[in-house]
Amino acid sequence: MAARSIWNGTLTFGTVAIPVKLFSATESRGLAFREVRASDGARIQHKRIGVESGEELAFKDLEKAYDTGTGQIVLTKEELSAADGPRPKVIEIEHFVEGEEIDPVFYDKPYHLGARDGGAHAYRVLLAALEQSGRVGIGRFVLRSREQLVALRPLHGALGLQTMRFHDELVPADEMELTTPKKDPSAREVRMAGKLVAMLADEWDPDEHRDTYREAVMEMIEAKRRGETPQLPEREDEGDDDLLAALEASLAGDGEGAGRAEKGSGSKAKAKSKSKAKGKG
């Protein structure tokens, strides 16, 4: 069965116009919880209350207001739609860039594009051209009353569209304060840590990774339901005083723990060897 599209419009590059529809490329696999009161599990309801009157206000009576510092300017939904610009139903590809020039930090939410009436052929032509050239289209369009910068690229035999962060939405590294150690790591530590990285080097296979915490949460919920109270151990101070010893232990022996572990069970194996190492110390 065909999925429901979340947006319909036209993709353009140059004067080529392709009718398209947009689909979300992700689905949430998180567990769905309700917001409740801790003491008795009462469900929580959100009420919009007037600050001065204390009265509850209906959603249909609300508008948005911008605070100018000295007062406020109320804008209707229609007035706010003026920010959509003159072409709200067009994804305009402004130009193309080499895909590998874009740092992944810019990529935000992914979508899939499908073709709409009369667009199938041009869709295929563009897809073939992007696959052949390795280029990524950069453009803009309005989604849910918000103009987005987007990247268009081939993905799994289809055109993928991903929203992009603006450069000023990224926090530069120089705003972070990094504590510098008094003593640099020794040559021996660097060498051993390098070996450890090499041991863990592998190929990326996304299908090998699954959410395993979810199962633990479900087990915890079952235990709670039976009336058990899950115990939270004290937080240990995990700082290693002896880096070298920890590196040595990682490289030595406990191969299954620190070595090329079977992914997924890797963390369990490591936890085991960790406790062993602590016992030794």
Binding site: V51, M176, R214, S267, A277
Partner: protein, 315 residues
Amino acid sequence: MPRPMWVGSLSFGLVNVPVVLFSATRDRDVHFHQVHKDTGERIEVHRVAAGTDEEVAWDELARGWETDDGDLVVLTEDDFQAAQPEKTRTVDIDLFVDLEEIDPIFFQQPYWVLPRGEGEGPARAYRLLRDVMEKAGQVAVGRIVMRAKEQLVALRVQEGLLSLTTMRFADEIRDPQDTGAVPSLEDDPPTEQEVADAVALVEEMTADWEPESYEDHHRERLLALIAEKQERGEVTIPEPEPEPEPQRASKDLLAALEESLQRARDRKRPGSRAGSPKGPVGTPGRGADDGGSASDEAGAKTGAGKGAKARSGTS
């Protein structure tokens, strides 16, 4: 410094690096208050127990899980941590891979990673991990639990710091073919001529990736319309332009590709600005008339002297 978003350790073999995470993104949106449309009275959202007027404070909130037979299990933050304490406090590094192997569709939220506290131990362990990762030129893949959900993470060195980006699991990404709207390449395949023309156009329209050259036009338009409302008491709402007509026949598509190619070449002739964003959609102006002026300015700012550079990849 802002507040950390997560406190825990990176675990690499048997080495533990106590760290804190800070958000690497910030909200630059124009924000509004919700008010009553007639009186302008501001509203606040109150959380109350359903069906009552009893307000519930932040620290009295918990998560409820509804079982199949309708029971409700109340869960606190401690319960979630106790479900698997080592997971909620540790990012276990499972493997190292090449960054290019990971498709950007997996990447989600980026964070900066810093050593926890001022101590020498964490600072040195952090420095060691950063240095070896920089040398290996690889990305560490591990897992983190944040807000009661496990996510994959990619840890790498950027600008001398460790950064961590949460990643989606493969089963959280849909197959585009499941949309039922992706045209198959078998029936009515593109002709060689069509693809060759499209590739030529794509190459002609290729520029360098310069993230600083993209301004958030939505923000600019919002601020402009707020100013207009303040000065004139009303906002001009532009008539949306009709959607462009698609080229349904192959000969029309070829003609459009060739016309676009010609235009793109004309634009790139000496004296013109190569590669700067163009066109009415790419401009902050709200009406079709004033579109272009702001982008011309932006183009002039970033476009100076880069005409030659913009073509370097393809010439």
